[in-house]
Symmetry: C2
Subunit: 287 residues, 2 copies
């Protein structure tokens, strides 16, 4: 496994791979890899011949006052995980390698970046779209994998790929959860044991919302209220509970079709997000 | 020579070329090809094995009330020119092929898009950056050629390529001029014979400004005033006369190094731009 830190070296490897007809799979991450990330890497199995994981805590997707500085980092452990998963190259650029002096070009996905996480985190999705566009151009993957835990992000990337004619297949894989349902996240490590116990309420509340929908409720604000009631004792603050069409991402007056039920909450200074998709016609829940 | 109208067909050709190790050269245009465009195509000679010209009057780079509707179009003549120049593929997508329903992703180059043409044409450079990014992703050129007549545009594309890690060499070629010095432009056809005669004042005024600089003047506003005086009787309106560092594109209090001297004027409802670069140390003018 190679560890590559410069854009130029990464490009050289990619050029050689392309010349040899290799099919490149790519998983972009901010490191501190957990089982969610591992499931993204595993999703490439059998569909590509080369696997690249990037580790880059992208400063431009953090807002002022957010956790950029304290975001957990553990390169040695991450490299072990990648080696274990048969990754060919881990790309770990520095901030100045990605954003050299004079950098001034940004990618904006206008509608999907609004609402939900986009409301509390202005500029966040611009930072995400920009860094992913850059990484796609450097690594030129045939396939890239994203997790459904960040549902808005996954939709945004799919839209960007389509709109900018990037030649990449984007695969979105289900959220990986702890035994009590908490979605895997590098930010879970911010929680104390007590906070960690409370955090399981997020997923149970979403499940409860799904049951309410499948039980016949079609009013989104009524469902959101039920979800809020189911977790408000356990979390320190509910940032949003939103219901949108999926994958269309449009607000609804009356629930129908596939519904994305998404939330962001705060526990002990950690901002945690989760979502599920309820398929009303099929009577099914996608986690 | 192939004429291709869909992104998918263009991609299929590009994939085959890449597999065969072809080196792709690309000239993006809005059609109505003149000697300036031909010089862009000729610049590819000997450095690539395949040549693609795109013809697309890009609606998102026109502001409301501008000349999008009446912008000259002559596909048959353009195809003849491309055939003559040994172009392999002419890519002529429709507006809906480039901007299908739901399109919402834009590329912004923040600083270079401000000032000069960016002031009078808000959104223009966002439209340019977005369409060029899309075309680069579709055609995946090794080399792309732009004209120095649109100096701000060329700098913007170079910055975007660098910032988004697009794997393209951008070549900028000198402005091609009529015998009386008027820069070649598809918009020159808007002029009556009388307006056409007046339009030669733009280039003479820039030359006069260059002479003033080379004569020792270092105050940009003084140079701009001289240029204005040299052409204000001949044009209907001067939109801007600006002096910037080249290629840095920074405003200056005191002229030094290489200076971009750029102007936009209006004659008979046509907006015409031109520029020259004065190399103070070398005592030379680049046209």
């Amino acid at each position: 496994m190679d560890v590559v830190r410069s854009v130029k070296s990464m490009r050289d490897i990619v050029r050689e791979w392309k010349r040899d007809g290799e099919k490149i799979g790519f998983v972009p991450t901010m490191g501190y890899l957990h089982k969610g990330h591992i499931s993204l890497i595993k999703a490439l199995k059998g569909i590509v011949t080369r696997k690249v994981v990037s580790i880059f805590v992208n400063p431009i997707q953090f807002c002022p006052g957010e956790d950029f500085e304290r975001y957990p980092r553990d390169e040695e452990r991450d490299l072990g995980v990648c080696r274990e998963e048969g990754v060919d190259v881990v790309f770990i650029p520095s901030t100045s390698e990605m954003y050299p002096e004079g950098f001034q070009t940004y990618v904006e996905v206008e509608n999907i970046s609004k609402g939900l996480c986009g409301t509390a985190r202005p500029g966040h999705f611009r930072g995400v779209a920009t860094v992913v566009c850059k990484l796609f151009n450097i690594i030129q993957p045939d396939v890239a994998v994203f997790g459904r835990k960040d549902a808005q992000q996954a939709l945004l990337i799919q839209r960007m790929v389509k709109d900018l004619n990037l030649d990449v297949d984007v695969i979105v894989v289900p959220t990986v959860r702890e035994e009590d349902g908490l979605a895997m996240s590098s930010r879970n490590m911010y929680l104390s044991p007590e906070g960690r116990r409370r955090a399981s309420a997020i997923f149970s509340a979403l499940r409860c919302g799904a049951d309410v929908i499948l039980g016949g409720e079609r009013d989104p604000s009524c469902v959101a209220r039920k979800i809020r009631q189911a977790m408000e004792d356990k979390v320190d603050k509910v940032e949003y509970i939103e219901l949108r069409t999926y994958p269309g991402f449009a607000p609804m007056d009356k629930l129908a079709g596939k519904v994305l039920v998404a939330t962001a909450v705060w526990i002990e200074g950690a901002r945690l997000i989760d979502n599920i998709v309820v398929d009303i016609e099929a009577g099914e829940i996608e986690l």
